[in-house]
């Protein structure tokens, strides 16, 4: 293998030899190389295959716009598909692989598609594969999917750590080329808080590709001085390897920093992020993103060895890599001639310069043969370019042998970030490109993105842009300047637009990666897809991983040319985030796996754990769901035992997760009266009341108890699920609807450890730890008050309320004491056979009792649907939901309403979510009578029971129905009944 490494290369360190493999072949490069530069140095021109025709492709660019050289880099958990070889830094031990080719990149079966080329024109999918109808999914699509995609995703877990950060600055400078560096230096010297971000591993941009001295000093030395000063400024934050990928509202910018992606495995610090997402909040922004060199669309323009002129210059000067031995340049602008000069300066033979302009005034005085008024119409070579065919202005063709071709069709300002918030770029005939929109929302474009050329001109523009931006912040600054350099030659450059070479032979590609040729664009036009968006969607031009960075403007140009209008009239497609693709890992940060969402733990979590609880996720909480004992192998064994223990003796259950809200204020009672649909004005001190809260649309929102603990002091409980929602709702009522009321709300959920102590022996247990008289007379059903406990050592709150239907209390103590108190209750309860029980047993008991939860309160029920219509006050003139609750559809007698349901044959089982049909009715949605909302096996009754919402339910107790579960293929005969299966007379509650 010939080496193409030559002398020079400002970025590489020849003492740092790095080994890597490309398609399993062992190669070497140097520290500072990109994968692309090291491949080129090793003579690897063919690196991948295109998407549709599997044509051989080589490295086209030296940056983020690369459409061809996408490799899979890394292995196992660090395997990254579709990595741009031009951006990936070479490290020792790197493994790179070509994609989208089989069996290998040199011999790819998929290239057969190229033969079918004429059949596979733009939009061919839409016109075919329709016959016969069933064949799309079975035959055609599987074939297409087999061919789809680029790299392969890895299933292995990603071992990397990721994180997200906020950053704040006065001035964000995007891009660290000459313009960006000047802006940062200017603002930094003025004392402003500056963030400067660049996607590359090195600051410098255009400085890096520069082969000639600047003001008598080597370009890299000039750059080193600037970077050195920036590093020394404490108010300047430099972010290398950081791509600002999107501009969002309010000057928030998304950026991703590839912190350790360039390091070999053994150098990766597991405590540092692999990638870091930055949300940058900037007061002002300098956009110094530069310009993208455009390819020219001509026959065979995709052959490996064809490269952008600027990229060739970068490989030559920054990496010391020669593109070939005999190179031609095809360019329509003067700037590109610099590549020819630099090649010649390195002793590389420039075979010819082909310039479509008839008499270009370039100032070029090199040795190369100039062919003016001519265009390249074809190339030849199987896997790399061997020759080009030049069409002269007199119509004559000439074949010139070359092993590389530099191309430059002009420059497209990188305006993406100026357009993410809806701005439209503006066409400029002068610059032959789309310029950033005029209104840029605190963002000043400068340098090449604003049409400047040359290091000096860009540097000056950057300094001036910073001065302007700083002035708007009230900061005085003086533009940084470069010593002793003549102005750039921007005025003398005259770019002659050339959108596609008319005499092209063979396929002339516009979008390399998606294999969109010029003929596809014209076909789309012919068929009516002539709007730029329709043409894009029909041909897929610009929809590949490079998002059209090198292809969009040429496609627009071809559309414009064919319509006979200016590209400005065609307009661009919408610039959308992201500028370059961003990994999920970076966007997710540390919120993955078990850390996807935070965990909320009850103050009794430790107690439950010690008692062997199984936990279940309930929102963010972990709740104890059952407490298996030795020998219980099935969860229901434990639940049955817990239920029986509570019903016959006593149990204790953690209910700390219920929402708790302290309500204070002179108008607290009035407030509660307005937020509940039932009456609350006259709730006496020391009493609790069950309340139903409606939404303003008249449907039930939540339920719970509220206790009056003192004058103007109430304690509300909500369901676990809606704790946050209810507080937010109450705050809306208090702050927005009735700010005139004196009501003050404090969340107290986390302050209290709360336990339900339930069962016939519950009073006996609690009497042992509560200092006061809690007899039925002294502390009747719905009593609620602060109590002294453990001989005055602790204050708690005691509520006589019951969800299980048993004689029961809820006792609340300050959270830190929760575990001690629970332990104490277990200890004093031992003689009564106390058992801890979980949410499963609680669920069984509430179904047995016919109490509702959010399984029934599903957002579409009214109090009447739940059998609590009588609770809705008819006396109050106003409460949330009063009027809408009276609408026709909410009082319709046909509404599904709460009933109990049980199997006709006690041994039958049925499932929640089953639907109810009348016996003999056909299975149809029209015959649907309702559905089972909850069910359980009732250990008390010895068979399955359930609650259901059934049309006219309450008037149908005793009726036989069919419980239909089509998903499981089962039907069970059931009987509708009273939802209170246990103690319908509430004797236990009042015992």
């Amino acid at each position: 293998m010939t080496s193409f490494r030559i002398d020079g290369g400002t970025l590489i360190d020849r003492n740092d030899v790095r080994r890597f493999t490309f398609n399993d072949e062992a190669l070497t490069g140097f520290g500072g190389d990109t994968v692309a530069s090291s491949l080129l140095a090793n003579g690897k021109q063919l690196v991948g295959r295109s998407f549709k025709y599997h044509r051989p492709r080589g490295i086209l660019t030296a940056g983020a716009a690369e459409p061809n050289a996408l490799l899979t880099i890394g292995r196992d958990g660090r395997r990254g598909p579709n990595t741009r070889a031009t951006m990936a830094e070479l490290f020792d031990g790197l493994e790179a692989r070509s994609q989208n080719c089989w069996p290998n990149v040199n011999f790819d079966i998929g290239a057969m598609n190229g033969v079918l080329g004429p059949l596979l024109g733009a939009g061919f999918y839409y016109k075919t594969f329709m016959w016969p109808a069933a064949f799309w999914e079975k035959v055609y699509e599987p074939l297409i999917r087999k061919a789809a995609g680029l790299g392969r995703a890895s299933y292995d877990p990603d071992p990397g750590y990721y994180e997200k950060c906020w950053a704040h600055c006065d001035l964000l400078v995007i891009g660290a080329g000459p313009a960006g560096l000047a802006a940062a230096l200017t603002a930094g010297r003025a004392g402003a808080r500056v963030v400067i971000a660049d996607e590359g591993a090195h600051l410098g941009g255009g400085f890096l590709a520069e082969g000639s001295p600047l003001g008598g000093k080597p370009a890299d030395a000039v750059l080193a001085d600037i970077v050195g000063e920036l590093h020394a400024l404490p108010n300047v934050e430099i972010k290398k390897r950081t791509t600002v990928f999107a501009a969002y509202d309010d000057q928030v910018f998304g950026a991703v920093e590839r912190v350790q992606k360039h390091l070999p495995e053994h150098e990766i610090n597991p405590h540092r992020a692999m990638e870091r997402l930055w949300r940058i909040v900037a007061r002002k922004v300098v956009l110094a993103t530069g310009a993208e060199e455009r390819p020219i669309v001509f026959g065979g323009n995709d052959r490996p060895g064809v490269m952008m002129a600027g990229a060739m210059r970068t490989y030559l000067n920054a990496y010391g890599v020669a593109p070939g031995k005999r190179v031609a340049l095809f360019a329509n602008n003067n700037q590109a001639y610099q590549t020819a000069m630099d090649l010649e300066a390195r002793g590389i033979d420039v075979a010819a310069i082909i310039d479509p302009r008839t008499c270009p005034n370039t100032g070029y005085d090199g040795k190369a043969r100039m062919i003016a008024g001519a265009m390249v119409r074809d190339t030849a070579g199987r896997k790399a370019i061997k020759s080009i065919t030049v069409r002269h202005d007199d119509g004559r063709d000439e074949v010139i042998a070359v092993d590389a071709l530099a191309v430059s069709g002009g420059y497209s300002p990188i305006v993406h970030l100026a357009c993410h918030r809806g701005g439209k770029p503006v066409w400029s005939d002068e610059h032959v490109g789309f310029m950033p929109p005029e209104s840029t929302d605190g963002m000043t474009p400068c340098g090449a993105v604003a049409g400047k050329t040359g290091i000096a001109a860009c540097f000056a523009a950057g300094g001036a842009a910073a001065v302007t931006a700083l002035a708007e912040l009230g900061v005085m600054g003086e533009a940084a300047s470069l010593p002793d350099i003549k102005q750039g030659d921007e005025k003398t450059d005259h770019i002659q637009p050339i959108w596609s070479v008319p005499s092209s032979k063979g396929k002339a590609f516009v979008d390399y990666q998606n294999d969109v040729a010029a003929s596809d664009i014209t076909l789309a036009m012919r068929e009516g897809y002539d709007h730029v968006e329709l043409a894009k969607r029909y041909t897929t031009n610009g929809m590949a991983t490079d998002q059209g960075k090198t292809s969009n403007v040429n496609a627009i140009g071809i559309l414009a040319e064919n319509k006979g209008v200016s590209p400005g009239e065609i307009g661009t497609t919408t610039f959308r985030p992201f500028y370059t693709p961003v990994s999920f890992g970076a966007l997710v940060g540390a919120s993955k796996g078990m850390e996807f969402q935070p965990v909320r733990k009850s103050p009794l979590h430790g107690w439950a754990e010690r008692n062997g609880a199984k936990f279940v996720e309930t929102g963010l909480w972990y709740r104890s769901s059952w407490f298996p004992k030795d020998g219980e192998t099935f969860w229901r064994d434990s639940v049955n035992r817990e239920v029986k223990a509570v019903r016959s003796k006593v149990g204790v259950c953690d209910v700390s997760t219920l929402g708790k809200i302290e309500v204070f204020g002179a108008d607290a009672a009035e407030f509660l009266n307005r937020v509940y649909c039932n009456a609350f004005l006259k709730l006496p001190v020391g009493k609790a009341r069950y309340g139903i809260m409606l939404r303003e649309d008249g449907f039930v929102y939540d339920d719970g108890t509220t206790s009056c603990l003192g004058e103007n002091h109430y304690f509300m409980t909500t369901t676990t699920a809606l704790a946050a929602g209810v507080l937010t709702h109450l705050e809306f009522c208090a702050q927005v609807l009735w700010p005139e009321l004196d009501v003050r709300l404090a969340s107290a959920t986390d302050q209290w450890a709360q336990m339900a102590v339930a069962g016939p022996k519950s009073r006996d247990v609690l009497a042992k730890i509560i200092d006061e008289d809690i007899s039925n007379e002294a502390f009747p059903f719905l009593a609620a008050r602060e109590v002294s406990m453990f001989g005055g050592r602790l204050k708690g709150r005691l509520f006589r309320i019951s969800f299980s239907g048993e004689l029961a209390y809820e006792v609340a103590v300050p959270a830190g004491y929760g575990e001690s108190v629970a332990d104490a209750i277990m200890a004093v309860g031992e003689e009564f056979g106390i058992t801890p029980y979980g949410t499963e047993a609680l669920g069984v008991m509430r179904i047995e009792k016919g109490h509702v939860t959010h399984a029934e309160i599903n957002g579409t029920v009214t109090p009447a649907d739940l059998g609590m219509g009588k609770m809705v006050s008819v006396k109050k003139d106003d409460f949330i939901g009063r009027v809408m609750n009276l609408r026709e559809g909410l009082v319709d007698p046909d509404r599904p309403s709460l009933v109990g349901i049980k199997p006709k044959s006690p041994s039958d089982k049925f499932a929640t979510g089953s639907h109810i049909l009348n016996p003999g009715d056909a299975v149809s949605l029209a015959n649907d009578q309702g559905y089972v909302t909850s069910m359980c096996h009732s250990p008390t009754l010895g068979h399955a029971i359930g609650l259901a919402l059934v049309k006219n339910g309450p008037s149908r107790h005793g009726e036989e129905v069919v419980i239909w579960n089509g998903l499981a293929g089962t039907t069970v005969n059931g009987i509708l009944c009273d939802p209170a299966f246990v103690d319908p007379e509430n004797e236990k509650l009042h015992a």
């Binding site: 598909p81 004429p118 839409y126 999920f584 997710v588 996720e617 026709e888």
Partner: protein, 416 residues
Amino acid sequence: MRYSALSLLGNAFSKNKNWKPAWRNPDPKPRYDVIIIGGGGHGLATAYYLSKVFGVRNVAVLEKGYLGSGNIGRNTTIIRSNYLLEGNNPFYEFSMKLWEGLEQDFNFNAMVSQRGVINLFHSDAQRDAYTRRGNAMRLHGVDADLLNRDQLREKLPFLDYENARFPIMGGLMQARGGTVRHDAVAWGFARGADQNGVDIIQNCEVTGIDRDGDQITGVQTTRGAITCNKLAMAVAGSSSHVAKMVDMRLPIESHALQAFVSEGLKPFIDTVVTFGAGHFYVSQSDKGGLVFGGDIEGYNSYAQRGNLACVEHVAEAGMAMIPALSRVRILRSWGGIMDMSMDGSPIMDRTHLSNLYFNGGWCYGGFKATPASGYCFAHLLATDTPHETATAFRMDRFARGYLLDEKGVGAQANLH
């Protein structure tokens, strides 16, 4: 020109130089029987079925941008009919049946791919809700299957079964659900309607609506005044804006929804999968890109773009479901404007004006509804009675209390 294997081959030999335009580019006529405002999926489908099924051919579709530039061109391409409520389910199943025969019907391959839709569940309560839903589907003869963890693991090996904050318990699958190449739906309907004589007029924005008492007489547009016998609005995303021209206030808020596509990957996600412990849905296109989305931004917007917070939120949910996504790069995000109705279901009805017809409020669900929406709206326009599957989408259901609230979250648009 009819597309066939022969036409494709013939054109290949003539270097594709003889393909004819898929539709005409007509100037507006002074008068139409029916004007449809909105050349998106629903408007074009309405025109197609009006002309094909109901014989109404003197029809114009007015589109302010290019055809298909609304939400038909910016969605996540999912089709399904896994609805719970009696007012919704038959309509979406009708739509599914139309999808199943659509390509042969309009002679355009829209790549209808019934690769299955699976909704994951993570708790008993979610399983119960999906059981209820699946059974409602089955009651109407719609396919539905409840999958347990093992069955899921076989179909979707890449989900997080081992280290999930909210462990996956199972999923509800509709095997007939799937994806469709969204742009092609607009193109197929446009081409079909055009062949039936419908004028599709692009770059024609309606700027005013002319009235005579409770009668619409025509519209003012950027391409001149046009009169009509009947006026139909199919401008989801801009419904309130257009309704304001006739002093209508709607139970609708406009919200932005972002959608995303990743870089192309070799296929590994064969079905549409939705997460149950966060808002995330994903499928993989025939080009290999993962197409996915999540929740709306939350604030009213007409700006067709979103913000970073929502992007992160979607990505977090995605990775919680599929850890392998960590190294997958997201290529592009885009935004569409959703008509979020106050109960989460669409509105298709006559209005307070005798010859004005309204179609909107589709929330996230508009794409999958496209054919049935077109068919039923055409039915309403042609017969003045709702199609049997669309009787519940009445405008007065909010006032009367007959809501179609699948989620049960009530009268707050951004919660649906």
